[in-house]
Symmetry: C2
Subunit: 253 residues, 2 copies
């Protein structure tokens, strides 16, 4: 099979955070597939085909990209952030496993990117300085009880918790329930970072308290990082959040 | 205060994964601080001072870098991967909080990078396609019972689990205990990625089973990713690991 499929993380949006490896792979592609707003970030190039689609269509997009690569083309599938973190990479391998047996011999390369989580953390300091979890609140493909069980576990074991897909029009109660689970295990003044569109138009971030999270103005594009009991807020302009590297250091302060 | 401190993630080692923002910040620095093997990755530049140090000296290194920036210099502190994930960023903010009150007005910028975790995941497919945790097994600053409690929580709630600092000469039993905790909650054939030096000389990665993890040949520089119960191994050359985007998808296959 002569085609090639690259799954590319575009980073958070700022071109200065797109890796040279990702830039080279985008330039080498004959066809690009992706959620339309992500594709729009990639500079136009003569002779390169583009297939934008809606964000609910990951598996169909993956199949279309694989089929084109299997036909001999150099194809790229793009995701925001890192394609492996709640992005297109898992959808591509799922489509390969479920699809034509010949697809398993296709050359597939995953090109990592700076994830939204890492970019959000860097903007505010170092909230991921110690153990952390990433949990998607989307119940499109995962039953809510499984999501809730993970929230409970992460809250009880005092992980820093990053919430992906925190809210949608269809599902208003998930974030409030997540906040309640976390509040049962850590203080109401625990700092929470809410970040949106980092490195792009409409960039915004702010630090709230865990007590205010349930009612905070948040949409599906935001990423939320809830501090652990050790996470420190340094007031100032800008304020800073960091999680110390260890408990002994924190308690010995 | 006129100085500037940039905390820079160098990515996993391959220059093609160093972001343009990080490259520019490295070039603009008058003085570089870091763990010596990371500093060695940064191209030499005339007139730029360098201060390499041992990997046990994060806080002393952070204080020295802050002091130099507070004196008016443009200073960069480097970490491998992303500086915010078990890297230098938390040490710098800890030093600022504990240090001279004037340090709080220093301009500090954190420049994110492709973390070792994301690079390792990309190399093998998409094992971080659903909820995951990152846990350091280093008990230098965190008591082992706290680490163990996080392992128990992550194992019981079926997170994909990334282990940082999996083993050292001083501490041989931690990894075996972590493996036993995970084995109590997921099948012995659960796939495990062990990766080392990705993108650098001595790069190696392999897929083992959870049953084999306790006895695996692993050192402190490795990163380990243990699949959840949903993580799929696709045999082949190379083999692939991915975690489906949801449970319904996985069980509906």
């Amino acid at each position: 099979m002569s085609g090639h499929l690259a799954i590319i993380g575009l980073g958070p949006g700022d071109a200065a955070l797109l890796t040279p490896q990702a830039s080279a792979a985008l330039a080498a592609a004959e066809a690009l597939f992706g959620y339309a707003p992500y594709l729009a970030r990639v500079p136009e190039q003569a002779g390169q085909r583009r297939q934008g689609s809606d964000n609910r269509e990951e598996l169909a997009r993956a199949r279309a990209a694989i089929a084109e690569a299997a036909g001999g083309a150099r194809v790229a599938v793009v995701s925001g952030g890192d394609a492996g973190v709640f992005g297109m990479a898992a959808a591509v391998f799922e489509a390969i496993e479920q699809g034509d047996a010949a697809w398993r011999s296709l050359a597939v390369e995953v090109i990592p990117g700076v994830s939204a989580l890492l970019a959000a953390a860097a903007r505010v300091g170092a909230p991921l300085g110690h153990d952390f979890c990433a949990i998607s609140l989307s119940d499109l493909l995962t039953p809510w009880p499984a999501i809730r069980a993970r929230l409970e576990a992460a809250a009880a074991a005092d992980f820093v918790v990053a919430l992906y897909n925190p809210r949608s029009a269809r599902r208003r109660a998930g974030l409030a329930e997540a906040a309640a689970v976390l509040l049962a295990h850590r203080p109401p003044q625990t700092p929470v970072l809410i970040a949106r569109n980092l490195g792009r138009a409409g960039e915004a971030w702010r630090i709230e308290t865990l007590a205010a999270l349930a009612e905070a103005d948040i949409d599906m594009l935001a990423i939320v990082i809830v501090g652990s009991s050790a996470t420190r807020l340094l007031p100032g302009d800008p304020p800073r959040l960091y999680t110390p590297r260890g408990y002994r250091t924190a308690s010995g302060r």
